[in-house]
């Protein structure tokens, strides 16, 4: 027999009350867990998306950089364009290993429920895409050709050698192109795109001389700052409306966008902890009150103040640690739902994104449960330790 066993048995004495208390803590811990994992998964997802781009610096037309980032990362209809000539300014800048210019547009079908994104690329694009492999076919065989991402190809049911039709839409005439190549799965946005030769796309879509983005790969990543500065001054000199930002900076802006949401969620989590903590405090205080005589008897038998203090403290700790474990389980079970909910709230979420279970999050959640137990248990434990055996037992014999 030991103190741990006694404490556990005491908790089980009132199972329903204990379960409710544990659940209160559990909800708070689950919220904290999801918050931490969300942030981690978000940053990780974003980072991998950005590294999928294979570029270090992104150049887009002036405008909202968040919007730009979302469109760059997920594809979409572009609100602004850059002049094709500006690409020459970029190419002439020192320190650049490779660069590619991109034109992009989307054809919305089914009243907006589905859209097919076309991307006009030049021969430099594959050099930024280390993961490109052809499942069939190869690079554009002629001007009227297309390369399909794996999932587009699958949904259209075509392979290299077949043909697809770009649907008529407003200024865009119906155009048939042959499929020069089909890509293997890349697990990036490329899987859902239709690639066209840049000039072909500009012609078909009526976007002659226009670009939406230039991606730049550096020879030396440590030179990011210098190259960015050089590009910016070159852009200013030529009076070009280019928005030049390194992707490392983009990561920062997107995560800081998240932090405003996080403050709000953190406030809710704090409230949940206060509710859970007060629940623990009152439960333990009630238990101490109910067991006054019993505790008095223990003191009469020679239990020191520290013995009683420790017993009540242990009971509190076990309650909150139980809450911590329950909360983590709850978080793991509810993770998907939470992600779905947050995706509707946040302006940009990485495409490939799930809540995981990291060691640091587990450690923080368990640490918080322990601290909660220590804090909520001190006052009741002190009260219990101060019970006078004579008054406690006198109350019993009358």
């Amino acid at each position: 027999m030991n103190w741990t066993a006694i404490a556990l048995k005491n908790i089980l004495r009132r199972p329903i009350r204990s379960i409710l208390t544990v659940a209160g803590v559990g909800v708070a811990i689950a919220m904290l867990f999801n918050l931490l994992e969300f942030q981690r998964g978000y940053e990780k997802g974003l980072r991998s998306e950005l590294s999928d781009l294979g570029a270090h610096i992104m150049i887009v037309p002036r405008g909202c950089p968040y919007e730009a980032a979302t469109i760059v990362l997920h594809g979409g209809k572009w609100p602004r364009y850059m002049d094709e000539e500006w690409y020459q300014i970029v190419r002439g800048t020192e320190g650049i290993e490779a660069s590619t210019a991109i034109i992009m547009d989307a054809i919305i079908r089914d009243g907006g429920r589905e859209n097919l994104i076309y991307m006009g690329i030049d021969e430099n694009y594959p050099s930024l895409r280390q993961s490109w492999r052809y499942a069939s076919g190869d690079w554009f065989s002629g001007t009227q050709a297309a390369i399909l991402g794996s999932s587009v190809a699958r949904s259209m049911g075509v392979t290299a050698g077949g043909s697809i039709t770009i649907e008529e839409k407003g200024r865009i005439p119906a155009t048939e192109v042959t499929v020069a190549g089909v890509l293997e799965r890349t697990n990036s946005q490329d899987d859902g795109l239709v690639f066209l030769p840049q000039h072909t796309m500009q012609q078909i879509f009526g976007l002659q001389g226009k670009l939406v983005m230039i991606l730049v790969k550096l020879a030396d990543v440590t030179q990011t700052e210098q190259v960015t500065a050089a590009l910016r001054s070159a852009s200013a000199e030529a009076d070009a409306g280019m928005n030049i930002f390194p992707l490392s900076e983009l990561l920062g802006t997107l995560t800081s966008l998240l932090s405003s949401t996080r403050v709000f969620v953190l406030a809710i989590v704090a409230v949940a902890f206060i509710i859970g903590g007060v629940g623990v405090l009152t439960t333990i205080l009630m238990a101490v009150y109910e067991r006054t005589r019993e505790i008095g008897m223990m003191k009469a038998m020679g239990a020191a103040k520290s013995d009683i203090f420790r017993l009540i403290w242990l009971e509190t700790l076990f309650t909150t640690i139980g809450g911590g474990v329950a909360g983590i389980l709850l978080a793991l079970l509810s993770g998907r739902g939470v992600v779905a909910l947050l995706k509707t709230i946040l302006p940009h979420t990485p495409a490939d994104f799930a809540l995981g279970m990291s060691g640091s999050t587990l450690a923080i959640c368990m640490g918080v449960s322990v601290v909660l137990g220590v804090v909520a248990g001190t006052w009741p434990a002190w009260r219990a330790a101060s019970i006078s055996p004579i008054t406690a037992i006198r109350g019993g014999s009358s």
Binding site: M1, I6, R293, M298, A300, M301, D307, I390, G396
Partner: protein
Amino acid sequence: MAIRNLWRSYERGSETVHALAEFDLTVQPGEMVGIVGRSGSGKTTLLNQIGCLDRPTTGQVIIAGTDVTALPERELVAFRRDHIGFIFQLFYLLPTLSVAENVGMPMLFARAHDRERVRAICERVGLADQMTALPGSLDGGDMQRVAIARALVNDPALLLADEPTGRLERQARDEVLDIFDDLRADGLAIVMATHDLEQAARCGRVIELRDGRRLEHAYEDSWPKAHCAT
């Protein structure tokens, strides 16, 4: 065990109530002393003093050669744990712990848990077959046996019992007193407060309290056993 000129007074409003006054008592090992008196006469107050649960207003309590009134709180707790056993009218057993765990609990306070000792004590009070039972499944007599075993587990020199049989049926009452006789024969000193004169009759010595004072003319040493046999 010796008490010298012990007073315990309480302030009640403007007046001072002497729950215990001018009290002297000596108890030898192997002796069983009965404390009788009306309700409010100071029996519990006396046991609390002897049991180091409360400190006297003035006077001395000496147990096994130690003046416990001079001990600091910490040492007093340890002294109580190691030298004194308590039994109450209500048994105060922990309902979630087995008989053996209840009995062994005071050893936990002494950080010296010993299964064999628990088993031996349980056998001694006749609980050998119920060591794994929960208190809720026992009758009153057996619950008091558990309380007695618990009081004895740290091998005290002195056993204090406050109305130990007040809640028990006649037969269980007699059995508890049989256990006391047995313990006394082994050299344990017992002080028992009781309302019940018949039980007091089984004590070697009986002291009557009235308003906190010892009645000198009481039946001490010459308790007429036939007197209460009716």
